[in-house]
């Protein structure tokens, strides 16, 4: 399947006046402001050294075979005009939550809620990093470093070295309200590097929501450490209707009996790559990663890449990957997903499904599922499908009087349902579903 998916790529990214590939990293770094750092100083220096050693991904980089890294390698992003109305997404807006606003990647205290919330300690990275001591010192750059083996992730190292701001969240019980990070844009050319660190302590629980538009280009990292019995619900909703260039890494270490549920909704965008690197380190732990992606090549060239690496290093753990992409007008979807079961990780239950619904013949989906298993008593399965709208179901709906466009919306929602099922909270799931439905209805005729 992977081989059939090979595309020819432009192998000569040099444009007149642009740096030679050997100097690409220098040029990239020169365009960034690298903070000195307080408690992160050593981690930042280390990350920079690692980045110099590995370099930026090149055209022959196997891990970047289906996604062109050029736009992420470029020293500065193409400016993206601000919209007349850069309003926040209505998602989660009516919910009782603790809102943290970032403008061009910088925390905006005036626009945010008070950081005090029972059972939780929240700092911003820029603020905390003026100090030498912080609980996050044990984590900042640590999970990212661990996630560099066996596959190199240069942009994550770059992020650790260059991150300007983010949130540091330590949860000690179950805060009543979810924490909601809202990104906003204020300039056309912001090149945002954000980095969140989350620790959910033993038996504690956090719902972490993310929405909004991040800069003209964004590079985000979340490092999350789930202590025994901890639960993290993570929902990210990428904003619709804009051009976007985004890259993110989610590094999670899951301890004994802990649970991770991460869901990403992504609607349109130019070039997106989301990597999830999950280390299931304690027995009886659960990690679910899911995404629902809608891409319309008419809104802008659309390319969306989900790259997942789940390592099972303990017994009786369960992992699920559910990735669904709806592609039209020449949109491209990529899924690279790997389950690695280490020796001794007995009774592992690993499941992976990646599916694309192509609404026309110009769109394409490239999938590379991988299993690598070194334990004998495990249950792992993976599957990948690419299909079109089910004509039978479409006719059934229309025969009941449901107009064509509305029937397509139903069938797209039907296709995405398994991914949305991975959102545990019913209210949140319903809200995401309604949003999707509204968006699909608006775009049904295009």
């Amino acid at each position: 399947m992977a081989d059939a998916a090979v595309r020819t790529k432009d192998q000569t990214p040099t444009v007149e006046g642009s740096p030679k590939p050997a100097n690409a990293l220098d040029a990239r770094l020169a365009a960034l402001t690298l903070p000195q750092g307080g408690f992160t100083a050593a981690a930042r220096r280390d990350a920079l050294a690692r980045l110099r050693e590995m370099g930026l991904p090149g055209p022959r980089d196997e891990y970047w075979r289906y996604t062109e890294p050029r736009a992420f390698n470029a020293p500065v992003p193409q400016p993206i005009p601000l919209l007349d109305k850069e309003a926040d997404s209505p998602l989660f807006g009516d919910r009782d939550r603790l809102k943290l606003v970032f403008v061009d990647g910088r925390f905006d205290a005036a626009a945010s809620d008070d950081l005090a919330l029972e059972g939780i300690q929240i700092d911003t990275l820029a603020d905390a990093d003026t100090r030498q001591d912080h609980w996050a010192a044990d984590l900042y750059g640590r999970l990212e470093t661990a996630g560099q083996t066996p596959v190199r992730r240069p942009f994550a190292a770059l992020n650790t070295a260059a991150a300007a701001d983010g949130v540091l969240i330590r949860v000690t019980s179950s805060p009543a309200r979810p924490v909601h990070v809202v990104h906003r844009r204020a300039s056309e050319d912001a090149d945002v590097v954000w980095h969140h660190v989350i620790r959910v302590e033993e038996g504690a629980e956090l719902t972490f929501l993310e929405t909004g538009m991040v800069g003209a280009r964004s590079n985000g990292v979340i490092e999350a450490d789930l202590r025994p019995g901890a639960r993290l619900h993570h929902i990210t909703a990428k904003r619709a209707g804009h051009q976007k260039l985004g890259l993110s890494h989610l590094f999670v270490r899951v301890a004994e009996g802990a649970l991770l549920k991460s869901f990403c909704l992504s609607v349109n965008g130019t070039l997106m790559r989301h990597e999830a690197v999950i280390d299931i380190a304690g027995d009886d732990a659960v990690a679910h990663i899911a995404a629902a992606v809608l891409g319309d090549g008419n809104v802008g060239a659309f390319h969306h890449d989900d790259t997942v690496f789940i390592t099972h290093g303990a017994e009786r753990c369960e992992s699920r990957q559910v990735f669904k992409k709806v592609l039209k007008n020449g949109a491209e979807g990529v899924f690279q997903g790997k389950i690695l079961v280490k020796p001794g990780a007995q009774k592992t239950d690993g499941y992976q499904i990646s599916q694309a619904l192509l609404l026309d013949e110009r769109s394409q989906f490239l999938a590379k599922p991988e299993l690598e298993i070194y334990a004998d008593d495990v249950k792992c399965s993976h599957g990948s499908t690419t299909g079109a709208i089910d004509e039978e179901a479409l006719f059934y709906l229309r025969s009941r009087g449901v107009p064509y466009g509305r029937a397509i919306v139903f069938l797209v929602l039907s296709f995405l349902a398994d991914a949305l099922e991975e959102i545990e909270d019913e209210d949140l799931r319903a809200e995401i579903n309604d949003r999707l439905e509204a968006w699909l209805t608006l775009h049904a005729t295009q």
Partner: protein
Amino acid sequence: MLKIDNLHVKLEEEDKQILKGLSLEVPAGQVHAIMGPNGSGKSTLSYVLSGRDGYEVTEGSATLDGESLLDMEPEERAAAGLFLAFQYPVEIPGVGNMTFLRTAVNAQRKARGEAELSSGEFLKIVRAKAAELQISPDMLKRPVNVGFSGGEKKRNEILQMAMLEPRMCIMDETDSGLDVDAMRLVSDGVNALRGPDRSFLVITHYQRLLNHIQPDVVHIMADGRIVKSGGPELALQVEEEGYGDLLAEAR
């Protein structure tokens, strides 16, 4: 109400003629049954009338109250009052039965220029009709036909029919796979809908259903044509003798 005249239909992708000059007229308020051996084209007829892709009409016409059905989209035919109870109802995971039904009902009302039902009004009606068909509230909440037994799927078809209140109902082997109790529920549901302004075309293999739903006319279909029409006694004759003699006689 429904008038089919000399209908010729072939498969779009293949050079295969399935309906070969079928003519039939169902006046308002009547129930007509179509019986015929497997493969004679009964389902094809129901699909062509309701607008499914994959067929090509090469000759003839089909009209509902004088309006040509064949030029309409499937949803337009539905809004015009046509309904097909499928031989094999389709499962649609992730779409709630209620959401689907409400969308369908309101889409049709809108297409006909009628006011849409509020969720309260809709709920009230659907609950009452579902109860009559012994469709549980749980089934209403589940995704369309997913995890339904064969009989439940057929009852769900009748529920849709009852909610949509079509004028011309085509039922394609709604009785197959039904036990005696389910057959009675379905028949009661259909009989409750009978009236001077509503007609039925009931496709069936078995005379049994026609004991519950009394037809005005029975048609025998073979090889893409109606070969004989008569009263309810024709169904009894099929039940007793099979199609052999009837078809031989027609040839």
